[in-house]
């Protein structure tokens, strides 16, 4: 079953043609990874799915993107779209508030006021992010005091607190040490049942390990998009093969 259907999508930053004629469908309840050299447009596509590109200066989009059949750039309320399509960034960006307020910010934004309910949401989100026992006795402390890995898992918990349907991840582990990276990958595999996950990564082993389908991007185009299994063992396109075998960066 498809969660995102993308047809003839083009994107320009000023006069730079970042995405050229993208057509692809992204499956529900599995992990899709976007790989490719830096500047190939994989992050731009990710930011188009939850309209985070609207904030970027001079960004023009054409073509259409459908979320469960609804046109994302139509009359859908952008804030509701971002609630349903959560996002985690490359550099962990917890708010300069306590751990509790970080997680509770999303639910409070969307109208949940009662302390009892917020406590429940915060605990569930932290448990889902497998970080509850590390943080349960420092909920009131500032989130900026946590380690890189803890901060990123906090951001994942924060995203999950608004119970999104889809989680977008923009190179979530590139700023983290191997141990934290391992923990997050394990977490993603665990979250796969509840959320459809789309992850942009430089780390091909990571894509091979955790994703069900992979798309390879080059110069703003989708070169190849298939099951991760077949992509890494029998790449159809020579350029995909060169990239996977590390012939170019």
């Amino acid at each position: 079953m498809k969660c995102f259907e993308i047809e003839k999508l083009n994107l320009h930053y000023g006069d730079f043609h970042a995405l050229k004629n993208i057509c692809m469908n992204i499956e529900k309840e599995n992990i899709t990874s976007f790989i490719g050299p830096s500047g190939c447009g994989k992050s731009s596509l990710l930011k188009t799915l939850n309209r985070m590109n609207d904030i970027a200066e001079g960004c023009r989009i054409s073509g259409d993107v459908k979320l469960f059949g609804e046109d994302v750039y139509g009359d859908m309320d952008v804030n509701m779209l971002r609630k349903r399509v959560g996002m985690v960034f490359q550099k962990p960006n917890p708010f300069p508030m306590s751990v509790y307020d970080n997680i509770a910010f999303g639910p409070r934004t969307h109208g949940i006021k009662s302390k009892y309910e917020l406590d429940k949401i915060v605990e569930k989100a932290l448990q889902d992010a497998a970080i509850w026992n590390e943080l349960k006795d420092r909920l009131k402390k500032s989130a900026l005091g946590l380690s890189g890995g803890q901060q990123q898992r906090l951001c994942i918990a924060r995203a999950m607190a608004v119970s999104p349907e889809i989680l977008l991840m923009d190179e979530p582990t590139s700023a983290l040490d191997p141990i934290s990276t391992g923990k997050i990958e394990e977490l993603l595999l665990h979250l796969k049942e509840a959320y459809s996950i789309i992850i942009v990564t430089h780390n091909m082993q990571q894509a091979a390990r955790i994703s069900d389908k992979t798309a390879f991007f080059l110069f703003g185009q989708v070169i190849e998009y298939s099951e991760t299994e077949s992509m890494f063992t029998m790449p159809r396109d020579k350029r995909t093969e060169d990239y996977i075998t590390g012939r170019f960066g």
Partner: protein, 280 residues
């Protein structure tokens, strides 16, 4: 619930726009008021050389303002710049003793910048006018103003020096240049635009100052022949005219001249600050 968020956004957008609008309207209202009241009275007689009770010329005040500004800048800039050089270049970054002195100097500078101008005027009266017995004079006024703008110049010079990348210093040290040569030949020239912006900002403050000058430089309306003579700046001139009540129109004309000077200073300061941003 979705409605509440949309309502919140609408309200906040309105508040921000209205606040910005009222700030702009306040400015236009004041500048418009001054121009409407002052422009018709800008006559050549206003700029004649000598002040007399019939022809209330502001030329002496204009000349005194320029001299006063020049004297206070001459006093405050070297001190302020050297102080900034000490704080940025010389204060031992690590050693405790240096840190304590840096902290002391920073807190003092911050306190000095918070002192009201009437307290400066009083201090000037007590110290320069009576204790040093300079009587009401340009010198007393200039020294008082110099202390007032010292923290301003120190802070802007410090920021300008900090903006100079360390690699310039390392490059110069690498060639065997001493600290002094590096500071004067490499660091200062590239920080100069920022320092200049600070000086111009300080000049803006001097031009607008009255309370501190009334008690130190006095209110004599003639062009002073030497620094020991009393003289009034444009702002003091405007205050004195409003006091006498006979020449309120000339007061508004003086306000227009003051406004023009402030505009020129702001443009000059923005230009030199841009030069700093545009690369050393």
């Amino acid at each position: 619930m979705k409605l509440k968020n949309k309502f919140y956004e609408r309200i906040m957008a309105m508040l921000c726009w209205s606040a910005a609008l009222s700030s702009v309207l306040a400015l236009l209202f004041i500048v418009g008021f001054i121009l409407v009241k002052g422009l018709p009275h800008i006559k050549p007689s206003l700029f004649s050389a000598a002040y007399s009770s019939d022809n209330v010329s502001l030329m002496p005040a204009l000349v005194s303002t320029i001299i006063m500004t020049f004297m206070s800048i001459l006093l405050a800039v070297p001190l302020g710049m050297f102080a900034a050089i000490y704080l940025v270049e010389y204060a031992g970054r690590g050693t405790l003793r240096a840190n304590k002195s840096v902290m002391l100097i920073r807190i003092t500078a911050e306190t000095l910048s918070g002192i009201p101008s009437i307290v400066y005027g009083l201090f000037g009266l007590l110290f320069f006018v009576s204790f040093l017995d300079w009587k009401f004079s340009m010198l007393a006024g200039a020294f008082t103003l110099a202390i007032m703008i010292l923290p301003l110049i120190m802070r802007s010079s410090e920021e300008a020096l900090l903006a100079v990348p360390d690699m310039y210093r390392e490059g110069a040290f690498g060639l065997g240049a001493g600290k002094l040569r590096t500071v004067f030949r490499i660091v200062l020239p590239s920080a100069m635009p920022g320092i200049l912006a600070g000086i111009i900002l300080a000049t803006g403050r001097i031009v607008g100052e009255t309370a501190a000058l009334v008690y130190t430089a006095g209110t004599v309306a003639q062009i002073p022949k030497n620094p020991m003579q009393s003289a009034r700046t444009l702002s003091v001139h405007m205050y004195a005219l409003s006091g006498e009540g006979l020449h309120v129109n000339e007061g508004y004309a003086t306000a227009v001249v003051l406004l023009v000077m402030v505009i020129i200073l702001n443009i000059a300061s923005a230009k030199s600050a841009k030069k700093l941003a545009g690369g050393a």
